[in-house]
Subunit: 312 residues, 2 copies
DNA sequence: ACATGTTGATGCCGTTTCGGCAACAGCTAT
DNA sequence: ATAGCTGTTGCCGAAACGGCATCAACATGT
């Protein structure tokens, strides 16, 4: 199904790879063919689309505009294809997800497994990144659905849903804090803490709170892996901070205890946003999964608020 | 600037004209070329796109799906072009408007004139239709902006704004009703009335109210032109019904008086919706005009509510 | 400073695609 | 039955495309 002129496809490949020859390799054509199509495009637009650096190509301003258009075209073509396919009953396609690490423990594997159980022809691609990288991948068209901490998102993205989860401390069952219902930051800082590095979004959630305190204690351990932090906390090394989402049902049968965090008497929230490219209609199978994702996250949000009712 | 494969453009032309030969004439190519491109498209999609009737072509279900995709592509191409053009400072393009007749007296000419005064390179195409035809033209991609009575709109359209205006009676200055501040339907029906035909949206606004009355009096005159109805009312022929919008400042220095309509003690509203295709990003110049349109209608809505404050 | 590997651009040439002309079959309305 | 419309199909010239080899320009490594 090759509706669109080769120039469109070639341009897209060159933009992604950042090089004409690399694009030619991906497309299985001669580099000269790619080069010519790009030149032809630039002639028709009347303005260069790339800046030729010795080491490859970089988009110019008009190039970025065209990139946006081409992305819209190709993504909408995907949707059209899926619409036609779903007409003959066969759903197949790939849902591409970019998300932060909190989802990998329980939410995403559960959802994907259950969805694959019902629609086996739909495959998945997931990539774990930092919050800002998630939004960036989405903007560049490298993912269909993005889940990230709800910061200010760029205007070319649309926030489909916003769910808030409580931030909390994670300690071993034998930890002195383990018997409390909730904890404050000060209480936690009396013990060795396992601090997240700036590349994790938890860092940016806790940083403003820590800055409010009179003293900024030395963290015992710094890490950039949610998993590692959790395992360290289970071994009694110290207090880790995570959203309840990252724990799932693990907290029941494991050595870990989750303690909702309070600050100045009110809970500390972590806002999770679900994002999609704004200028786009999703394929049916992607839309379907998106609905389930929103529903599931809403369900978890509700369940947690029952388990840890707001104190205020 | 011809990025896209001829098949796309040909398909678009065939869909609009409903005939291969007619499309060929529009495109200035031989009909055989168009025919082949369509056949090639159908082969690549793997399913017929048109039903061949003896008198022309009609879209099949997959054809309609492709039509939607092609429309998205071509409209987004327009936006890209305008983005590039606005980069070099020169705004030019065409804003295509479909609207109901109420706007033609004052709102639209005022706005277009003022906009052309500032951006002379932007041209306009306006088409006056019935409310449902406005929405249909928008769906088919034949207009960029639509203004219609706010009925239930199809899901592929987006309601940008919703403004409500009072419906009222229009009578000559010497008419017995002219001294009143407001009127009810019963009071009007005591006199000869100029009734709108079903093709005008006013008909559908008044019909449910008339049905509530005990008797349905014979209308003196039926017409399908807002203008004609206004002129008839000015000559004292009878009572016409219109939204305040259709009158503008004419009511001051003319023979006409506008009397807001009350029904069961509360005003009768006419909801005006501004619509845009949902799966679409507007070109900069269109977006700019749209903003002004929304602002202007909001302004008029506010002004009228001052002139005729709500009685309830 | 030199060699090497990379980048994108070009000239040449065979293949593919596209478009125009004319003729065809199918249908409709007069 | 005739005339007028429809879409389709061979045939052929023109335009576009892709592949190969080559070139100049630049970066990197020795």
């Amino acid at each position: 199904m090759r509706f669109h002129s080769p120039a469109i496809q070639y341009f897209h490949a060159v933009r992604r790879t950042g090089s004409i020859r690399a694009a030619a390799r991906v497309l299985n054509v001669a580099s000269s063919a790619v080069s010519r199509q790009i030149l032809k495009l630039e002639q028709e637009v009347g303005s260069p689309l790339f800046e030729r650096n010795a080491r490859g190509l970089t988009l110019t301003t008009v190039g970025e505009m065209l990139a946006r258009h081409v992305m819209n075209v190709l993504q909408d073509l995907d949707r059209f294809r899926s619409d036609v396919a779903s007409l003959s009953g066969a759903w197949h396609g790939t849902v591409s997800i970019a998300c932060i690490e909190s989802l990998t423990e329980s939410v995403l594997p559960d959802l994907i497994a259950s969805h694959r159980g019902r629609a086996r022809r739909v495959s998945f691609t997931t990539e774990v990144k930092g919050s800002s990288d998630v939004l960036e991948a989405l903007s560049r068209g490298e993912a269909d659905i993005g889940i990230a901490i709800a910061l200010r998102h760029p205007p070319d993205l649309r926030q489909v849903a916003l769910k808030r989860f409580r931030l909390g401390a994670l300690v071993a069952r034998e930890h002195p804090l383990a018997r409390r219902k909730t904890v404050t930051l000060e209480q936690c800082l009396a013990f060795p803490v396992i601090q997240a590095l700036p590349e994790l979004s938890i860092y940016h959630l806790l940083q403003p709170l820590i800055a409010q305190l009179s003293e900024t204690p030395e963290p015992a351990i710094q890490a950039n892996s949610i998993d590692l932090m959790r395992e360290l906390a289970a071994r009694g090394v110290g207090v880790a901070f995570q959203t309840q989402l990252g724990i799932g049902r693990l907290s029941r049968d494991s050595q870990l205890v989750f303690l909702p965090l309070d600050n100045a008497g009110s809970p500390v929230w972590s806002d999770l946003g679900i994002y999609v490219r704004a200028e786009r209609t999703l394929p049916a199978y992607t839309e379907s999964f998106l609905q389930e994702l929103v529903r599931e996250l809403g369900e978890r949000e509700r369940r947690e608020n029952v388990a840890y009712p707001q104190t205020s």
